[in-house]
């Protein structure tokens, strides 16, 4: 009933003011969530968020915070990365002990260094670099078998998916946006841009935005080439253009985050696929209204959280805990919240950054309010990257 109501609301909101494409489909503004997110490894919680002067790219420094499992305090490990983080950091883990960090290039650096830690950040091993990682939270993915995918942009502006069989070495081209666009699946999708990569069991998945309405741009490689492998949306969503904004690894497979836009109306839903299967289970649609997706990440289980910003109002947090579950709202996070952390222990933190001040707010379940648990003044080196 809820889904039907939302779909009805979205359908009536399709007033045709979006830019029409050649085939008549509407092209909504691209959805671009921040790279700020969190992940869990067996060692503890990791989070990346921007600090400094966020209106000045070369004075914005992304920080890598780590909290050991069971501990309460965060420590900033950004300096251990030994590279300027102005372009942003991309995290990837297979939910085991390894954490891979991709460093997006900035200023005169044109490629992306990669680092891996297996010991809670005590030591970092540089993996082979790749071309510029895409400015998407899921532009780097690691499979449970150690294989990895990277969504990059080459010097001539083409998007390229690279694959590494293991240890993030020996990267080779898996496909490109041009090749995908020319495939049968790409043509039927009306491929826009590539938005995420993920490992469905051992199968590489490439996500994209599609210009053709109702098509979910998730591709996998088959004998005959790349083909559409995403879920089929209900007919009521068939008029919407779909952006896949994330491919989150889950214990049993992958969870795709889909933003469906019909005119000015936007909704978000999730689709899960289990490890070996090809069938998808979709969630109900969360109407975003005027809200923009700011950050998303795993909720510690098979689901994810969503931090959404609304113009002029407080940010909101929505949680979808897995197939069959309903959307659950949390109390509005404190101002300047960049991302959230859902620890396996059930603890929920909102991480806020205001210039050089990092604040960890913990959700008090009893009072449904946020309480400040840690403040760190990060020694940001303004001017050091220019």
């Amino acid at each position: 009933m809820i889904l039907a109501a939302v779909v009805m609301a979205m359908a009536t909101g399709a007033c045709g003011s979006a830019t029409p494409t050649r085939d008549g489909a509407a092209t909504p503004a691209p959805v671009s969530p921040s790279l700020a997110t969190s992940v869990e490894t067996t060692a503890g919680s990791w989070a990346v968020l921007p600090m400094g002067h966020l209106d000045q790219p070369l004075n914005t420094f992304w920080q890598l915070f780590f909290r050991r499992r069971g501990a309460s305090a965060w420590s900033d490990l950004a300096s251990d990365l030994a590279v300027a983080t102005n372009g942003g950091l991309v995290l990837a883990t297979s939910s085991q002990k390894d954490l891979a960090v991709g460093v997006r290039p900035a200023n005169l650096l044109e490629f992306s260094p990669l680092l891996v830690t297996s010991d809670a950040g005590h030591s970092w091993t540089p993996a082979n670099p790749v071309a510029a990682l895409a400015n998407q939270p899921d532009s780097l993915a690691i499979g449970t078998g150690g294989g990895a995918l990277a969504l990059t942009t080459t010097a001539n502006g083409e998007q390229e998916v690279l694959e590494s069989p293991g240890q993030l070495t020996d990267w080779h081209e898996l496909t490109t946006s041009t090749q995908l666009g020319a495939s049968a699946g790409g043509r039927s999708c009306g491929l826009g841009s590539l938005t995420a990569v993920g490992m469905g069991a051992a199968t590489p998945l490439v996500a994209a935005s599609c210009r053709r309405p109702g098509i979910v741009g998730i591709f996998s490689e088959a004998q005959t080439g790349w083909e559409l492998a995403g879920p089929t949306l209900s007919p009521s969503l068939g008029a919407g253009s779909v952006d896949v904004i994330g491919l989150l690894p889950t214990a049993g497979g992958v969870c795709a985050l889909l933003v469906v836009s019909i005119g000015h109306t936007t909704g978000l839903l999730a689709a899960w696929r289990s490890g070996g299967g090809t069938a998808w289970t979709t969630s109900s649609v969360l109407a975003l209204g005027s809200r923009q997706v700011e950050s998303f990440g795993p909720d510690g289980g098979a689901g994810f959280f969503l931090l959404a910003a609304s113009e002029g109002g407080p940010d909101s947090v929505e949680v979808m805990s897995g197939p069959g579950a309903s959307w659950r709202g949390l109390p509005s996070p404190p101002v300047h919240t960049e991302t959230l952390v859902f620890a396996p222990t059930g603890r929920v933190d909102a991480l806020a950054a205001d210039d050089t001040i990092f604040t960890d707010w913990t959700l008090q379940a009893a009072s449904a309010s946020w309480s400040r648990s840690q403040v760190v003044n990060v020694p940001v080196q303004f001017g050091s990257s220019s």
Binding site: W62, S79, V83, N107, T169, Q381, S384
Partner: protein, 610 residues
């Protein structure tokens, strides 16, 4: 516009000092030229006086005096060029000209105008000492030339040269006077002072006979009349912001008010600042009335000029001069205050032009006889000396004009050399990093691995000059710039590069694998430079090399990149360090980058030749 800025402050002491030093040296050359000319002048004058006394030469060649209109133009613009030349000698000219004069002038214009202006600005900023010093002497020389060459071919050539240089200034320095940009207004100096210089130079270059009829004056006034009427229409055009003052404080001021308010901020004498500020306040309160007055005045003066009737033109010329002077003081703020003013702006040249037009119309010289060169009346076969001394004043004027031309060439010759030099002068890099330190010490030995995995030691490189620097392969600012400076220096060395090894040593304790070394080489286009080695090694080996070369490599907090020294060592064929260069890219503009490459190439070249 990449070549527009050097990134250095206009008052950079190294640049200012070098500029003054060059001006002083060139002034000495000019003095020598003047001294030689004085001697030649005296010798010629003595000879002429003797001939005049003996009745074998006539004291004057011309049958009529120089037309007063032409004299007004020649002397007026001669003095203006000299003033412009002195203004070019201001300390802020080397670094301020491009960013504070050319850049702002070109900014509102279309892209093709900006490209043209950028071409000129790049030459200026690549040669920040030569270019302004050249401009000083070219303009002083042109001024002196106009003043000294009163008649004949020398004088016409001075006019032509004045027009040509004026055109250069108008196109590259004034971005066509902003005629292709929005906001064009007579009150602000449209269509650019230098265009009036061109017009005046063209008139001076006309043959003498053109000045003997009122037609020339009528034509000049017609051109000026059309210009005034056109400017009146532009000034009256609605929607351009000239009709609005500033109704209330805090509201956006009108175009004219904003301009005057901006001029009031310029460093200037207190009295003038007071006048300008008061006029700004008056215009803010009565913007509509001020613009109406301006429109009516321009249109009336223009129509009067077009009428061709001297009875109407006379008062219009007086009104025009008053209006120009008023605008010059209250709106253009004399044009040359503030440290980077290059000329007194448009009002004085404009007034000189219509005044000359009026004089050419009303004060046509009386021709008593045809101008007959004395030489024609004398025997056909004359020696050079006899011919030179046969035309007393004319010859002396020619001599003075030749001297003025020589002064012009003192500026023009280095400018011509600068034009064909695509590399920036080393002074820019020296202003950032100082000059290379000369040393003579055994270079620290090292054994590392190059980008192909081959072990390389200092011993292996004996017999070649080595330039060593330290580069972080994942650095986002300085290292890619230094790498490009090395690459550029290699190109500058030409065939000499075959005897040189350019060496980078990894300066990052984490990203030191060959994968990163090669990624950096690909990024910087160094993979095909045959004499480029990018060395890496174990953490211990790198630490030893850093320590032995005194290079600091440190982790920086807060997500900043690794901090390390920007330095280069030039090691001679025997393995001794001969120069240490600070390689901090400073503002890292295209200009300073080229300049640093020149310094590096020159330093390597010195060691190659030693």
């Amino acid at each position: 516009m990449p070549g527009m800025s050097t990134g250095l402050q206009p008052d950079n002491p190294t640049i200012v000092s070098a500029f003054r030093s060059l001006l002083f040296r060139e002034a000495l050359i000019v003095l020598v030229i003047c001294a030689l000319l004085a001697v030649a002048w005296n010798v010629l004058r003595e000879a002429q006086l003797r001939k005049v006394a003996a009745g074998t030469a006539s004291p004057e060649l011309w049958a009529h005096p120089e037309p007063i209109a032409r004299r007004v133009l020649r002397i007026g613009f001669g003095l203006i060029w000299i003033l412009d030349g002195f203004l070019q000698g201001q300390a802020s000219m080397p670094l301020g000209m491009t960013t504070q004069v050319i850049g702002p002038a070109a900014a509102p214009s279309p892209a093709w105008v900006q490209h043209l202006a950028n071409f000129g600005a790049t030459i200026w900023s690549y040669h920040p000492i030569t270019a302004p010093a050249s401009a000083v002497w070219i303009q002083v020389g042109l001024g002196v030339w106009l003043l000294m060459a009163r008649r004949g071919k020398w004088s016409q050539l001075a006019g032509l040269s004045s027009a040509a240089w004026g055109l250069v200034v108008w196109v590259f320095g004034e971005a066509f006077g902003g005629i292709f940009a929005p906001g064009l207004s007579w009150a602000f100096g449209a269509p650019g002072a230098a265009l009036f210089y061109c017009f005046a130079g063209g008139l001076i270059a006309l043959p003498d006979r053109r000045w003997l009829a009122p037609r020339l004056g009528r034509a000049v006034l017609a051109v000026m009349g059309l210009f005034f009427v056109g400017m009146a229409v532009l000034q009256a055009w609605p929607g351009r912001g000239f009709w609005r003052g500033q109704p209330r404080p805090g509201q956006a001021p009108g175009t004219l008010t904003a301009m005057v308010q901006q001029m009031a901020q310029t460093p200037q004498p207190h009295l003038l600042a007071g006048w300008v500020a008061e006029f700004a306040a008056f215009d803010a309160a009565h913007g509509w009335a001020v613009n109406l007055f301006l429109v009516v005045s321009l249109a009336s003066i223009g129509m009067a000029f077009l009428s061709g009737r001297t009875a109407v033109i006379g008062p219009a010329v007086v009104a025009g001069v008053v209006l120009c002077l008023t605008d010059w003081v209250l709106i253009e703020d004399l044009g040359f205050l503030g440290g980077v003013g290059t000329d007194p702006n448009s009002m004085i040249p404009m007034a000189l032009l219509f005044l000359a037009g009026y004089l050419a119309l009303t004060r046509v010289p009386l021709v008593t006889e045809l101008p007959v060169p004395i030489a024609v009346a004398r025997p056909a076969r004359l020696s050079l000396w006899e011919r030179s001394t046969a035309r007393p004043r004319h010859t002396l004027q020619g001599l003075a004009a030749a001297g003025a031309l020589a002064i012009t060439l003192v500026g023009a010759a280095p400018m011509a050399v600068a034009l064909v030099n695509p590399n920036a002068d080393p002074i820019l890099a020296e202003a950032v990093d100082g000059t290379p330190d000369a040393v003579h010490l055994p270079a620290p030995s090292f054994q590392l691995t190059d980008q192909s995995g081959t072990t390389v030691s200092l011993q292996d490189l004996r017999g070649r000059v080595i330039a060593v620097t330290f580069l972080d392969p994942v650095c986002i600012s300085d290292c890619p710039i230094i790498a490009q400076e090395f690459r550029e220096a290699d190109r500058m060395l030409g065939a000499g590069a075959r005897r040189v090894e350019l060496v980078g040593v990894v300066a990052n304790p984490v990203y030191r694998s060959l994968a990163y070394v090669n990624a950096f080489d690909r990024q910087e286009g160094l993979e095909h430079v045959p004499n480029w080695l990018y060395l890496t090694g174990s953490s211990g080996a790198l630490n030893r090399v850093w320590n032995s070369f005194g290079v600091q490599v440190e982790y920086a907090p807060g997500g900043a990149m690794i901090a390390h020294s920007d330095v280069a060592y030039v090691i001679d064929q025997a393995g001794d360090t001969r120069y240490v260069l600070d390689m901090d890219p400073g503002p890292a503009t295209e200009t300073t980058q080229s300049s640093s490459a020149v310094v590096l190439a020159n330093t390597i070249d010195r060691v190659l030749g030693s």
